[in-house]
Amino acid sequence: MGNGLAIFFIILGAVLAAGLSGMGSARGTSLVGQAAAGVVSEDPSKFGKVLILQVLPATQGLYGLLIAILTLSFSGVMGGNGNVHYEWYQGLAFFAADLPMAVVGYFSAIHQAKAAAAGVGIVAKKPNESGKAITFAALVETYAILALLISVLSLSALQGMFAA
């Protein structure tokens, strides 16, 4: 019973990390994509510049995927011989480790998208300043990166603790 519940929590954590971050990235890239399409309809030569702005909020989805795989791999649910034994609270600990990436991934993608969509306006009016537009949006990504770091560190710590 304890082991089953633990594995449920581990899987739930992985699914939320990949799922929520992915949802955030999907919403984010779509938001910027709509703004970008408006610019490209006026001037197709700006495609490359606005594409980069659109890709920026895609990062969170990739980070979420990474955390999901690390969770499954560190806990031994994936890739091991399937012979894992956890107490339910240990599974819950893995779940908690996934939370930063899941929550921050979701919100930072959407907020980064808003900054990037505003940056699309910069590209429309002053194409030479697109580097600044990228910087504004990339700053938001810092917090997704911090969340990624904390999730990785927590997972790494858990692996060390429970393996012993």
């Binding site: 490359g48 895609a58 980070y63 030479n128 697109s130 580097g131 990228i134 990504e141 990785v152 790494s156």
Partner: protein, 689 residues
């Protein structure tokens, strides 16, 4: 291998040769024309000329589209690779008559199309008329029976009974008593038990006729069509004949339009001819002109400029002056790179071209570009497909257009890099070799004919992740080196040292702590030899660095604090600047390095989806359909996976270059070179020997 030397060009020639000179310049397509400021522009009205030409071009394009829609040309799968037809400049511009004839053809064709459309409108009108006559074909209505009694015939568009009609009239006009209604029996192909229509004749006293008709109309009654043109059956027959005639005419017109298909080549020529002329009108408004001469000013790449001068002075009574651009000029940026990097110039251009003080980053990013692309696509099978396809095109299509050639080359290199990483990770169409060996050749479980040279990215996540971070750090350091190089180029020797060394020392000091968070103490037992070798090297460097990294870090921080604020005034500003740099160094590099995790994430996504496709393919256990089912799922699944991940790899490789690499040293903001050339679709000008 960098930014080209650009010359300012000034060409003066007699007015009598203006047209020829413009033809020449446009066919060469190597010079950018800028507004001549010293002399007044030609006294012509460019707007009117442009409008006339655009109208002609519009007609030709519309006619071509009309022909293409009716008689589509068969195009091969590789038709987009076909180059435009080569043509001599003099031959092209000498065929004015051909273009004008084609314009007339286009106008005739469009007139026929218009007639055809009119026939369509007429047809709709006739059809409606016929529909209206349809219920009346079998009826010959009575209108007036005697001076005192009137009869009115018409139709109600639903099925009603005599009682319903009579009570409706009685409700509206209770005082009218003498009303009678006669319903006609209609054949079942005309009427419907619910939807009708009902055809009827109402009889009443002539004095009441108006009221009865009003009441019936409230009920949905419509008068019968007039019989002046003869009985209904005859009228319907006449309309049907007109319809048939209409149809025949339309067919005739359609054939006539199709007979113009042979003029397609002329139409295409004319489209390009008028496009070129429009370009000349635009350019011509930038020229300067006096009573006898005209002046073209602009820029060209150094060697092109020399060539242009030689040829123009030989062919025309022209004088061409080449000078270095002055400080007030705004020369365009032209990039030139070798075989390996030239395909990526577009990628640089998509971000921003180098400014006056920038270096051309293309050749410095090409190695990492191909490397990262391969790492993100990371399937040797996909890489082979791309490399073979693009390599084949490059080998067998000698006369590709330069743009297409560069695209092919870029994907060739990307494909080769993908093969490399796919082999490192042991991914050949996902895990296809192992799956095929197991399912179709009864190999034992766990047998893999193509094992990874390094390690399996899907299971050995941590070590691959570390590799990504190391490559990322190398990429970032390379960017910092570029910063130093840019400083040197601009004569800032001190900056070249202070912008680079402190960063290197600090990041090297902190890196082992960071990597230590990810490093696993042991490596998997089944680790291949090369992987073990790489791992050991890294671990050796890591441990030896870890022992001294505190000192390196402290030295680095001291260097940063002492040097980063050097441009600020006062001791507070200098130290403050240094401290701020420490903060931005830590937060910046942390984010930058972690960002390279996408190399692993995207690579793993390709591998995992590929494995899922193979698994789906082996689901059917029936021995008869097993092989065909596997082949089908294999092809469809891997094509889809390749398509998705190709886009992902391209976009995210660009991102790593733009956001992580360029931000270290590159400003951008250079003006693109827009040569005066003909933006033709079907022809290109032959290069003179």
């Amino acid at each position: 291998m960098a930014k080209c030397k650009v010359k300012a060009v000034r060409l003066v020639s007699p007015l009598s040769q203006k047209a020829e000179v413009l033809n020449f310049l446009q066919a060469k397509g190597t010079m950018e024309i800028r507004q001549e400021t010293a002399l007044s522009p030609p006294p012509t009205d460019p707007d009117a000329e442009r409008a006339t030409l655009k109208e002609a071009l519009g007609a030709i394009e519309k006619a071509t589209a009309e022909l293409d829609a009716r008689a589509p040309e068969k195009k091969g799968l590789l038709s987009m690779l076909e180059p435009r037809e080569e043509v001599e400049e003099t031959a092209f511009f000498g065929e004015k008559a051909r273009a004008e004839a084609a314009l007339e053809t286009a106008k005739t064709l469009l007139e026929l199309v218009k007639q055809e459309a009119d026939l369509g409108v007429e047809r709709t009108r006739l059809q409606t008329k016929l529909d209206l006559l349809e219920p009346w074909k079998t009826v010959s209505p009575v209108t007036r029976v005697s001076p005192r009694v009137s009869a009115v015939t018409g139709l109600i568009r639903r099925n009603v009974t005599r009682e319903e009609i009579l009570s409706a009239v009685a409700r509206d006009y209770p005082e009218i008593e003498a009303v009678e209604v006669e319903l006609y029996d209609l054949p079942s192909d005309i009427t419907d038990p619910v939807a009708g229509p009902t055809i009827l004749t109402a009889y009443c006293l002539t004095d009441d006729a108006e009221e009865v008709e009003t009441s019936l109309k409230n009920f949905g009654f419509v008068n019968a069509p007039g019989t002046d043109a003869g009985p209904y059956a005859e009228q319907a027959a006449a309309v049907e004949a007109a319809l048939a005639e209409n149809e025949a005419q339309k067919e005739k017109l359609g054939d006539e339009i199709l007979s113009f298909a042979s003029a397609r080549a002329d139409l295409r020529f004319a489209a390009d001819y008028y496009t070129a002329l429009i370009g000349q009108v635009d350019a011509s408004s930038l020229l300067g002109q006096t009573e006898r001469v005209f002046v073209v000013t602009g820029f060209a790449e150094g060697k092109d400029a020399e060539k242009l001068k030689k040829q123009a002075e030989k062919r025309f009574d022209a004088a061409v002056e080449l000078t270095d651009p002055g400080p007030d000029d705004d020369p365009p940026v032209i990039l030139k790179n070798g075989f390996f990097s030239a395909p990526l110039q577009n990628i640089t251009g998509m971000y921003s071209l180098p400014s006056k003080t920038d270096i051309d980053p293309t050749s410095f990013m090409s190695f990492f570009y191909y490397l990262f692309f391969g790492m993100m696509l990371s399937d040797a099978g996909y890489g082979l497909v791309i490399a073979l396809a693009t390599g084949g095109v490059l080998l067998f299509k000698k006369n590709l257009e330069p743009k297409m050639k560069n695209t092919m080359k870029m994907y060739l290199f990307c494909g080769l890099s993908t093969v490399f990483w796919g082999a490192m990770y042991g991914s050949w169409f996902g895990d296809a070799p192992a799956v095929i060996a197991r399912e179709f050749f009864h190999a034992p479980a766990g047998f893999n004919p193509m094992p990874p040279i390094w390690t399996d990215a899907v299971t050995d996540t941590m070590n691959v992740l570390i590799m990504c971070f190391i490559l990322g750090l190398a990429h970032l350091f390379w960017g910092v080196c570029m910063k130093g190089y840019t400083d040197l180029k601009n004569g800032r020797k001190l900056d070249a040292v202070f912008d680079t060394i402190p960063t290197f020392v600090t990041v090297i000091g902190i890196a082992p702590i960071f990597f230590g968070l990810f490093v696993q103490d042991h490596i998997p037992e089944n680790y291949p030899a090369l992987g073990r070798f790489l791992y050991n090297i890294f671990m050796a460097v890591h441990t030896s660095l870890s022992q001294v990294n505190m000192y390196i870090l402290i030295a680095g921080l001291a260097l940063v604090i002492c040097t980063a604020g050097r441009h600020s005034k006062g001791i507070v500003g200098k130290v403050g600047g240094g401290l701020y740099e420490v903060y931005s160094l830590f937060s910046g590099y942390l984010g930058d390095v972690l960002s390279y995790a996408r190399l692993l994430a995207l690579g793993m996504a390709t591998g995992v989806i590929g494995q899922v496709m193979n698994m789906l393919g082996t689901l059917p256990k029936n021995p008869v359909i097993k092989i065909p089912a596997f082949i089908l799922v294999f092809i469809a699944g891997h094509v889809a996976n390749l398509a998705i991940n190709l886009i992902g790899a391209y976009v995210h490789t660009n991102r790593l270059q733009y956001v992580e690499f360029f931000s270290k040293f590159y400003e951008g903001g250079g003006r693109a070179f827009v040569p005066f050339e003909a933006t033709t679709k079907y022809y290109r000008f032959k290069e003179e020997q």
